[in-house]
């Protein structure tokens, strides 16, 4: 009974029950539900639950070598999020977080496009409440935009799935390509959630608007669910290599000039997704392993970075770089944890990012894709810039701080400590991570060539930073808004649309005026004609005349 329960469903049930649980036991209950759900990890591979409805056979619980690593990390991330938010008594946010994590885990185990669609929408509808938990006007506006875009993704998925059933009679979650029209719809649906270039605006718009704890939850699930879905349905699609390469490179420049550090991390998240998308695009066993490994470690270090910034937001009240600095003295542990996260994302040897990114770089090298290889190499320097240096530097160092601040609460420190431990643990002992990857790996990341090459890149990039700071060439932080692709629907389209519709309205009104004048004119003339004395005798009036005319026209048509 328990074993055939869809993983994640326990968490959704617990989320519904949360309001009746005394507030003291809420967090333990949340942990318990994650634990119950995680028992499903022991079930092994296979199809455990199907449901026949309206002639469709829905596969509700399916597990294989690709779902397992994602399921493990999603459960782990749920635990971290709950511990990190232990002090948070906001019931709405607690419920939304638990249900959101549960739906993401449920989505991983969907075996067909329709059950995937249900979970896909469930993650959207639950996570919007986490954005709302930011509890500001801008968070509310952002949440509405977020909801529209996420639902768009769901609708595209539904259209694609329906067309697929109509054309092929199959709705299983199988490998697709872009030659079929339904494939394109599904590709776009996944692309929105995976924050492809120009479809990425929602991510940087909404994630930084949420509460300190909410952003950590948001950063873990939605985008990685999209990566999982892409890895399942579009492995080896060459377009993805190019899309991924652009994704790694272009957010880098935005991250340099962005002032809100949580938004910087959102750009950085986008850039990391690019590495995973490239891995899916190559589609070899090595590269898919790389994508999965990267998603796995990325969730941990990105959560760690968001947690450290959340702690700063919790204590200082802002994450704007222009208002921070010098926190190392007051938040020493948070500083250390943040630096560990920064070193992991920058892929320093002995940190988790290194052992995962190496897989993707090696598969690129193995395929001889030299251009993409160097784009990703370039992006690695970019990662170091915005996540490795900018985040810790502006938050904790930069200049001395005058006002005192308290260290982060204990529960936050525990969550960050666990994440930091995992970052180093995976980096030092990668074989445990490698053993859960979809394909068996015989890969050694720690070769002298590799380590020296990576260290050279990173250390000289740091040297470049020191050089730029020394000669005052490094741009200082300015309070500002940086335009991103959400500008298209927040400013450009309304900018074009509003005057356009206004003028169109004017034209339509003018047209109606003209019509009524014309109508009056014709009607007036015919009335006059009907009332004229020589016709009055023979006709009963205007209505009769009209009827005669119509009959006459019908007669003419009939004759013709």
């Amino acid at each position: 009974m328990i074993s055939s329960m869809i993983p994640g469903l326990w968490m959704i049930i617990a989320s519904i029950l949360l309001p009746v649980i005394p507030s003291y036991f809420r967090q333990p209950a949340m942990l318990l539900s994650v634990f119950l759900s995680s028992l499903s990890l022991l079930n092994g591979f296979g199809t455990f639950l199907t449901w026949e409805i309206l002639g469709f056979n829905l596969t509700l619980y399916h597990s294989d070598n690709l779902t397992l690593p994602f399921a493990i990390i999603f459960h782990l991330a749920s635990l971290l999020v709950i511990i990190y938010g232990w002090h948070n008594k906001n019931l709405m946010e607690n419920m939304a977080t638990l249900a959101y994590a549960g739906s993401a885990i449920g989505a991983l185990h969907a075996g067909d496009f329709f059950s995937l669609f249900i979970w896909w929408e469930a993650t959207a509808l639950t996570s919007v409440f986490i954005v709302l938990a930011g509890n500001t006007i801008s968070a509310r506006n952002s949440a509405m935009r977020y909801l529209i875009i996420q639902v768009c993704s769901g609708v595209l998925l539904l259209i694609g799935a329906s067309m697929m059933v109509y054309q092929t009679g199959n709705h299983e979650l199988i490998k697709l390509d872009l030659s079929s029209n339904f494939g394109v719809f599904i590709f776009l649906a996944f692309g929105i959630k995976a924050a492809f270039p120009f479809l990425n605006g929602w991510l940087q718009d909404s994630y930084p608007e949420s509460s300190p704890t909410g952003t950590v939850a948001l950063s873990a699930f939605t985008t990685k669910l999209a990566i999982y879905a892409l890895a399942r349905t579009f492995p080896g699609t060459e377009t993805l290599i190019w899309i991924g390469a652009i994704m790694t490179a272009f957010p880098v420049f935005f991250a340099v000039i962005e002032n809100d550090l949580r938004r910087v991390l959102s750009f950085s998240l986008n850039n990391q997704l690019g590495f995973m998308v490239v891995g899916i695009g190559i589609g070899t066993e090595l590269s898919l392993n790389g994508t999965v490994a990267h998603a796995f470690v990325h969730i941990i270090y990105k959560a760690l970075l968001f947690m450290s910034m959340g702690a700063v937001l919790h204590r200082v009240g802002t994450t704007k770089a222009s208002e921070l600095g010098g926190l190392y003295k007051y938040m020493p542990l948070t500083t250390i944890f943040c630096i560990i996260g920064a070193m992991s994302i920058s892929a320093f040897p002995l940190f988790s990012g290194f052992v995962a990114k190496s897989l993707i770089m090696s598969s690129l090298g193995g395929q001889g894709l030299i251009l993409i290889y160097f784009v990703l190499f370039f992006a690695s320097a970019g990662v170091l810039e915005h996540s490795g240096i900018k985040i810790p530097y502006f938050a904790f160092f930069a200049h001395e701080r005058k006002t005192k601040v308290k260290e982060a609460p204990l529960n936050m420190l525990i969550a960050m400590g666990v994440a930091a431990f995992l970052c180093i643990g995976i980096g030092v002992y990668p074989k445990y991570l490698y053993s859960i990857l979809p394909y068996s790996v015989d890969y050694q990341p720690y070769t002298i060539d590799h380590v020296i090459s990576q260290l050279q890149l990173l250390v000289f990039a740091i040297l470049a930073f020191l050089f730029l700071v020394k000669f005052k060439l490094y741009p200082s932080e300015i309070k500002s808004t940086v335009l991103n692709s959400d500008w298209i629907y927040r400013k450009m389209l309304p900018g074009i649309g509003k005057p356009l519709f206004k003028n169109l309205q004017k034209i339509i009104i003018k047209f109606y005026d003209l019509l009524s004048i014309l109508f009056d004119l014709i009607l007036g003339r015919s009335k006059k004609f009907a009332n004229s004395s020589y016709i009055k005798v023979t006709t009963p009036g205007f209505a009769g005349l009209l009827m005669i005319t119509i009959l006459f026209i019908m007669l003419v048509i009939a004759v013709i």
């Binding site: 003295k329 290889y373 020296i452 040297l463 060439l473 741009p475």
Partner: protein, 77 residues
Amino acid sequence: MKNNNLKTYAKYFTQFIIAVAGLLLIIDFTIHRHAYFHLEEIIGFPAMFGFICFVFIVIVGKHLRKILMRKEDYYDK
């Protein structure tokens, strides 16, 4: 606590990084690195690449501000 703590740390940190950077270059001269592309095997190539990319990103970012940067309340209006 003295007020110039950060400056002292920065000095030590800079010295440390310069030392490591020098060491890495020396190692590069003594071994032959194998890489997927010959370009990467050139002595000191990743170092040069890292340095140039970093400066490039920062400089380009700085100039992008002219196009992409707006006032903080840009969207509120």
